[in-house]
Symmetry: C2
Subunit: 306 residues, 2 copies
């Protein structure tokens, strides 16, 4: 893979958003052309309109849990998961160059980012916190309007892109703020065959529903355990249109791809509507966005056996 290869990646948010950071880090060996989208639905639309576009989408966060609507959109889209990326979300306070925190009268950002930084601002009661559409958008607004006295909570990438100065780094209260992103695209059989040959595929995301029979979930999970398939995530979501019936989204990890295929054959007759959402290489590092040089930390992902 030469860096000269360019790929298009649809992201939710404008340049400088965390989705862009995740996209560039995941495709670190390629030139990434970002396709900014307002909503996750627009990310899927962009992919439908142009088969060369891939997408990246946050799927869970350690503070708020799974982004449930994204599971439904992914399943209904017909696209596949090509990979995953894990990002430690750091929030920075930024403003026009030369401004001190005492000179900042109001700070704009996404409501989630504001909520995560409220404790920091308790020490600066002169600052008014104002909700906006997006973290990066608030940074862009300050730059475009040369808005003195205004600050934004956003990523270091946003500060760099919009020529803002970071006034205070890492102002979030809970430092354990990690987001897992999925890279999605067409079913690329050639790329997958290459990964399989290199023995790199070790994780799958699967969705199924279950018949109304006692113990049907425990049977499926027990069979997977018998085949030494590790469950790393389970998420139930209602089937829309059927009262209190659920779809189960599971993530599994394995060392032996053949054995994994056999386990699927073993559980398929016990499931309804089973579908593989993707088979890919597990992300074993967490990228921290503290500062300009992303730092990768080893993750103990393989130890999560549930």
């Amino acid at each position: 893979m030469s860096k000269s290869e360019t790929i298009k990646v649809a992201i939710q948010g404008i340049p400088g958003a965390n989705h862009e950071i995740a996209a560039r880090a995941y495709f670190e060996n390629k030139n990434v052309e970002v396709v900014p989208c307002h909503t996750f639905q627009e990310v899927f639309d962009a992919m439908h309109n142009n088969p060369d576009v891939q997408g990246i989408m946050a799927i869970e966060n350690t503070l708020v849990g799974s982004l449930l609507p994204n599971y439904t959109m992914l399943r209904e889209s017909g696209f596949f998961i090509h990979g995953e990326h894990k990002l430690r979300i750091k929030h920075h306070l930024m403003a026009l160059p030369g401004q001190s925190i005492e000179g900042i009268k109001e700070v704009h950002s996404h409501p989630m980012a504001i909520a995560q930084c409220e404790a920091f601002f308790k020490n600066y009661p002169h600052i008014k916190l104002i909700e906006s559409e997006d973290t990066a958008y608030s940074a862009k607004y300050i730059a475009e309007n040369q808005a003195k006295g205004m600050g934004a909570i956003a990523s270091s990438l946003a500060a760099r892109l919009y020529d803002l100065e970071i006034v205070e780094r890492g102002i979030e209260t809970n430092k354990h703020n990690y987001t897992r992103f999925l890279v999605i695209g067409q079913d690329d059989k050639i790329e997958k065959a290459e990964l399989l040959e290199q023995n790199k595929i070790n994780k799958s995301s699967i969705v199924f529903s279950l018949p109304h029979e006692e113990g049907s979930l425990s049977k499926v999970l027990t069979i997977l355990a018998f085949y030494n398939i590790n469950l790393t995530k389970i998420q139930s979501l209602p089937v829309v249109g059927i009262e209190w019936e659920y779809l189960f989204y599971i993530d599994v990890m394995y060392n032996d791809y053949e054995r994994y295929l056999q386990s699927l054959d073993a559980i398929r007759p016990l499931c309804k509507k089973m579908r593989i959402l993707g088979e890919y290489e597990a992300c074993t590092t967490t990228q921290t966005t503290n500062g300009d040089t992303p730092k990768k930390e080893k993750l103990q992902n393989a130890l999560l056996h549930i």
Copy 2:
């Protein structure tokens, strides 16, 4: 229970909100004094400040899935689940009496309600849709300001409370819009002993985490199945502060309370941090809020064996 008994119930929303409908239906034999709260956190605060106050909280919806932050708030609050209620959410278009749909220029409501009724408004392109804080709040605003030409999407209770006329009933696109509410309060041992004596307790909500060992979830679920305990819901949520470790929230149903207690003894040594969030009577009817007289439909809840 005589209707003269009055109880205080904290709800999220102002009078006329769906939480009030659920509260009055659940406590149909009592006089309900509603304590309106802006947020779910305020519901818990109201309960902490006054031990006589109970609370009611939406926990899952068939269109959007579980309300994940509410699980965390419930667990951290130390309160217990006393019961559950299921409501079919119907949205009505309402305005000042005597207004026709042609005379309505703008319609206000909560973004979720607007999203669920967008298809209906495609036939009325002259109407502008405007997002507001709350469905019932929009109805109240019209009444207080005698706002002609303005409509709200809200419940029939809101129409009645604020003297508005329903212009069009049931304008939501997807009719399978059900919300499950939990009734929460102090650990009331006396009330529970009564219910146990009447053999009415048949459902529990439990939270636990699991050690990092292969197949640990399948072991727990298999033991529950061996004890004829039916799993009706499973929800994983990250443990804040620990990377990619999960808490499991399960709902179980059973006919034999003693057998259920034995099954807990059997799984306890395999779980970490297990806690019973509540033991209560399952709701087997769904209340529809179409019109002024709530209609109850039989639910096939007991058939959900997963």
